[in-house]
Symmetry: none
Subunit: 153 residues, 4 copies
């Protein structure tokens, strides 16, 4: 009998670097003040940063984007497509998860080069397409792969 299986998860050092690089990108690109949440493969928070000037709900939204992506196994773009097709299913999962399913861009799965799931990043504060762009910049800064849920080619 196979008793166990292995999971690979983001280290603190990696998560912290992703968070700082996400905000560095946002500053360089002249974005509005952002918040960024980095979750490990268990869905627990590893690193979080919020810039000065963010509004009050940024933690809930950033963490909810990341946790919803991990909860469903898809990046925000795919969640948004599915929400368009099945709005009442999304409503149900939002209620089941205390709101932790935010079906827009800016929730991004983190994978290694082999496609193994390592964690997720959520960003909030700008247009959701810019939130996603900042998250991708953070993830690629450490050489990992950002899975935004884009349509398969």
């Amino acid at each position: 009998m196979k008793l166990t299986h292995f999971l690979t998860s983001l280290s603190l050092e990696c998560a912290s670097q992703i968070a700082h690089a996400t905000l560095a990108h946002a500053r360089q690109a002249g974005m509005l003040p952002l918040a960024v949440a980095v979750l490990d493969v268990r869905g627990t928070l590893k690193a979080y940063l919020a810039e000065d000037g963010t509004s009050l709900y940024r933690q809930e939204i950033a963490q909810g984007k990341a946790l919803g992506a991990l909860g469903m196994g898809f990046g925000g773009q795919e969640l948004e497509r599915r929400a368009g097709l099945m709005p009442l299913f999304m409503n149900a999962v939002q209620a089941l998860s205390g709101g932790n399913l935010v079906p827009v861009q800016g929730g991004v799965l983190v994978r290694d080069a082999q496609g193994e799931l390592l964690g997720a990043v959520g960003v909030s504060g700008e247009l959701s397409s810019k939130d996603e762009q900042a998250a991708v910049a953070g993830i690629t800064s450490v050489g990992l792969v950002a899975d935004c849920g884009a349509p398969k080619p």
Copy 2:
């Protein structure tokens, strides 16, 4: 005065067999990793199994599909039809039940040959049509009747 009435409910042995058979079907059919929840007639969990590789919200969704079917008295197909006709009613019941109404395929009532309600099965992890197919395979493996809420002929 009639003091009592009878309930008929799935036994543990039956529920466990349904859960194992649901996953056996999924493996044979090459489905994505699934979770399966089997509830007794009271709505309490009798058996649950989650394959390796499921995302974080699979318990909530599988159990929510089964409980929602029992809660409303219809399988997922009928819940989905009614959700299309009465979306605000479905929203209200989702809020009342903490999200435990998931109006898509994959929540299936379990009945005996006489149509008596015995419990419900919920499956999550694949396309909802495949979730339902796996639940039906589990229920029929013990000789019981799967009520998916299909349109009456």
Copy 3:
């Protein structure tokens, strides 16, 4: 930079075997009807079984014992000691976690021979000392180590 770290988690096959062995022990020992929840290292449910005759809250209690042990990093015996010393701290964490901290025997961490954390088992239905005894029987049936939070020798 160390990007990732590894987690080891219970397989479905292992979790299912633990659940069945827990109940087999309970039947042999003449215990009251039990429920058993087996969680992986992420805190998500892998396997659950409830015997015929359990009362309505057994899932919540069994899963809450296991999740509370994983949440705090201690087996139920140590949680019970700490609850005696710091009852208001326990109250706070119960509220923070939706009640998923049950500081009595019957929440048991699962470790391998090297002490690595793999998941947790929660049992409910009997006196808590018997709940724990059944969980330990389940865990040792697969050759893994049960950490009940007993005082260090």
Copy 4:
């Protein structure tokens, strides 16, 4: 008519430095893996870091210690004293705040040299006296004042 008043709050740069310095102290002192949450004066999260190996509830507890200190206006030592005198009041506020009142050491208010409130730090993972010690090290690393709620001399 006085239309406005001023708030002074921790900047992101300051909050991030406090979080990193808290964990640096913990590593040097050989503590168990910690999580640290830094809140601004509004009670919103500015910076959070969790070391590898923390158990699942560390965010909730660390953030709950910091938010509870801000919510009541006292550091954890004073919250603990008051909890001893008024346990039912503490229970009520825990229920009102979803558990975000954790009346033990490790929730520390951040003040400037004039005593002005700027935010709060919460630490979880070790004995609460060590949690507090790490939070104080983080706060003093930026030249600010740690208010642990110690008895007035």
